[in-house]
Amino acid sequence: MSSLSIPQKTPTPVAGSSIRRQRRLQSVFRLIIAVFAIGFALFPILWIVSAAFNPTSSMANQRLIPPNASTANFVKLLTNPLQPFMLWLWNSIKIAGITTILVVFITALTAYSFSRFRFRGRRSLLLTILLIQVFPNMLAIVALFLLLRQLGEYFPTFGLNSHGGLILVYMGTQMGINIWLMKGFFDSIPRDIDESAAVDGATHWQAFWWLIFPLVRPILAVVGILTFVSVFNEFILANVLLRSNEQFTLMVGLYLFVTQNFAQQWGVFAAGALIGALPIAIIYVLMQDLIVGGLTQGAVKG
């Protein structure tokens, strides 16, 4: 992906006041659009920040800049035992973290094999993986629900309402696209490296672990971030597969909690949403160029 900051259209240097006036008109026009677009993009975010610091949790009488701003909502959020917010946050981080580590490791092994070995059926296997991934896992949600229920009869750790089962499901959603992303990157690492290692008597495993793995760190980071973010943000599957309050992820917990009494819980929800969204927003803003590259290679926000 080409970097976004490469200038591609140099303005033709033409003198003359009419051109200058046209340019000034253009920048006024741009300014107006910028104000409107940024207003549209930012107002909901500012509004939720303001709600979080509004001393009364109710939606009524909320101002954009709350008088007597306080952290009362955060205190309420963290102290109500009926909505164990910190536990939900921890569940989300745990599930997303374990899924990410497993996905990065497993897809790296697979991508290495696709990139370095030539064997019969390799091409069709790669294309099959891509084709299967076309059907979003959410479509098979009923089947996944029934699968976990059946598994849970024998292995409760992977049944309904278990984090183990949810992690398995999430790993399934992340395999195909990430195998492709990684394989593309592995292909760009010269094969001479492996071959010279083989001459020195290294096994494939040693070559992979000591030589290739450190070289592909950038793509491991991209896959890791994209996986973590999409699992952390996922709502529907978790909503169906998790059943009890103490098992909920942050998204499920916040959703169920706020929809019970929207207008009254507004401020507390805002505080929770702020804490939940902040880490992801920081990751995105800091890594926007990296992520844009990953996006344009076909990942759609999920």
Partner: protein
């Protein structure tokens, strides 16, 4: 490319063998653990006749074994974890959905036949002339009741709910001396119930209690007598029927309904799963009450996906064009601010808007009322609900479109524009003639992917209003803003008359076909397949 498969290790054969020995042993150990678990799981699945899952587990186990034991399959060994997960968590659910579409899987038909026979076989009844006991009752301080039973041959048993019967003697722990009838005078922690205690609670409290554990469950029959419960229904393999031991009625297995049905038409619950051919699809096609909402939902799904892509792309492209000039001061800051909505988790974004549009107190609604004296029913009016969803989705989605358009604009060579400028083309002509066609070449596949994504964008629909407002008068719940996948979800999990997985799977099957068609179109007619194939 030359074959690159080598045996593990290098140097002499012996060195290479010794080198690989530990990893070989480790691999065998790992396989042994995996196989042990798999065989145990397979045994249980086959016992319960859960065939589809048993098949999937068997395939995965065989694959893992073959790959780890055959050196020819060495490259696949690296992929075995990924392949196992893809087969079990991606491929199997798809195939199982297709299979379910042809079954009667629903509430009341959740079990396999073997499981249903076992479940029905757990029903007990008090037979006439069965095994009986004389009894005495004892009550603990927490009001739990246990029995001492004396059988026809004079032995005494202790009967506690949920535990097997236990023979006792006066020497047993906590048991006092026996009286003339063979009952213990005292039991530690319990007081014996006297006749005057028993009479008032006999029918109301004592009679429903079950003591002991299956199959030796004992129930109180009368003031003096307790009797062992017997299985009410016994499966007769020859008849393929459940025989009612109490009433003598025979319930034959009906393989087209998936239930045991007697000649007088009585049905035993629960039923079991059977394949029903195209019945689910026939219902979808022929029942006007079902077809009505389906057609309506289908129409809105297409409209929603199309309008979502169109609006987000239009706004994203417009902003990308306006802020594309690298000479603009603060361009990077503007871009960062504009992508902020994209960084908010989808559910939270929708919920924030849901708050701002709230009918009574939302900031947008109240301000509209103040300014115009009127605000639309964002959640109650079918049309405005749809508009609200599109607005929220526009907010969530335009930054993505802006980002990919900015990227794509960079790749359009600038000399084309210069040539067009020389030819005197206007801004509009340049946009329609150059920018858009060239942009669509690179962005087109992403737009199709975005269409497919929104086609199944469950999160936005569900978090906005769970598909409401409801369409009145439908036999299965359906809402005006439901898209196919959320409608399917309701059929499966929120059905008014219980979950109907079979019918839900039939609709999912239809969605599969649509997604497959779109993808085929994308790959075939946009030349993406050739591009991918070359990269393989």
């Amino acid at each position: 490319m030359a074959s690159n498969i080598r045996e593990a290790g290098g140097g002499t054969p012996l060195a290479s063998f010794l080198n690989s020995l530990p990893s070989y042993l480790l691999r065998l150990l790992g396989l042994a653990v995996v196989d042990g678990l798999a065989i145990w799981l397979l045994y249980l699945l086959i016992r319960d006749q859960v065939w589809p899952l048993a098949a999937a587990v068997a395939v995965v186990t065989l694959l893992v074994n073959a790959v780890n034991l055959t050196d020819r399959l060495y490259p696949l060994r690296w992929m075995s974890p990924a392949l196992a997960i893809i087969i079990l968590m991606v491929l199997y659910p798809i195939l199982f959905t297709v299979y379910t579409a042809f079954t009667n899987y629903s509430d009341g038909h959740l079990l396999t036949k073997a499981q249903a026979i076992r479940r029905i076989g757990q029903d007990r009844f008090l037979p006439e002339g069965g095994l009986t006991y004389r009894w005495a009752g004892y009550r603990s301080e927490t009001n739990e009741i246990i029995l001492a039973l004396v059988g026809s041959e004079g032995q005494t048993f202790l009967a506690v709910p949920g535990e097997p019967l236990q023979e006792i003697t006066p020497e047993s722990d906590g048991i006092g001396a026996f009286d003339a009838d063979g009952f213990p005078e005292t039991i530690e922690g319990y007081t014996r119930l006297q006749m005057r205690d028993i009479l008032p609670i006999l029918d109301s409290q004592l009679a429903p209690l079950e003591f002991g554990e299956l199959p030796d469950t004992v129930k109180i029959k009368s003031i003096r007598e307790a009797a062992q419960l017997q299985p009410r229904y016994v499966y007769d393999e020859e008849l393929d029927a459940m025989v009612d031991q109490m009433a003598g009625e025979i319930y034959y297995a009906d393989e087209s309904q998936g239930s045991f049905i007697s000649e007088s038409g009585r049905v035993l619950s629960p039923g079991y799963q059977v394949t029903v051919g195209l019945r689910n699809f026939q219902r979808l096609a022929t029942s006007p009450a079902l077809r009505g909402p389906f057609v309506q939902v289908f129409g809105w799904t297409i409209a929603f996906a199309f309008l979502s892509v169109a609006t987000t792309f239009a706004l994203g492209l417009f902003l990308a064009l306006v802020f594309n000039d690298p000479l603009i001061r603060g361009r990077k800051v503007i871009r960062t601010l504009l992508i902020l909505p994209y960084t908010i988790p989808g559910v939270l974004g929708v919920l924030i808007w849901r708050g701002m549009l709230n009918q009574h107190l939302g900031v947008i609604t109240t301000n509209m009322v103040n300014l115009f004296g009127w605000a639309p029913g964002w959640f109650t009016d079918p049309l405005w609900s749809k508009a609200g969803i599109l607005l929220v989705n526009l907010w969530l989605g335009f930054p993505y479109m802006m980002l990919i358009c900015m990227g794509a604009l960079q790749s359009i060579p600038s000399d084309i524009y210069e040539a067009a400028e020389v030819d005197g083309a206007s801004i509009w002509q340049r946009f329609w003639g150059i920018t858009l066609p060239l942009l669509l070449v690179s962005v087109g596949p992403l737009l199709v992917a975005s269409f497919t994504f929104n086609f199944n964008n469950f999160t936005v629909i569900y978090a906005y209003n769970e598909g409401r407002p409801p369409i009145p008068g439908t036999p299965t719940p359906a809402g005006y803003t439901d898209i196919l996948i959320s409608y399917t979800f309701r059929l499966a999990f929120e059905g008014g008359r219980g979950s109907d997985y079979g019918y839900a799977a039939a609709i999912t099957f239809v969605i599969f076909l649509i997604v497959a068609t779109i993808t085929l179109f994308q790959y075939r007619f946009m030349g993406q397949w050739e591009e991918i194939s070359e990269n393989v």
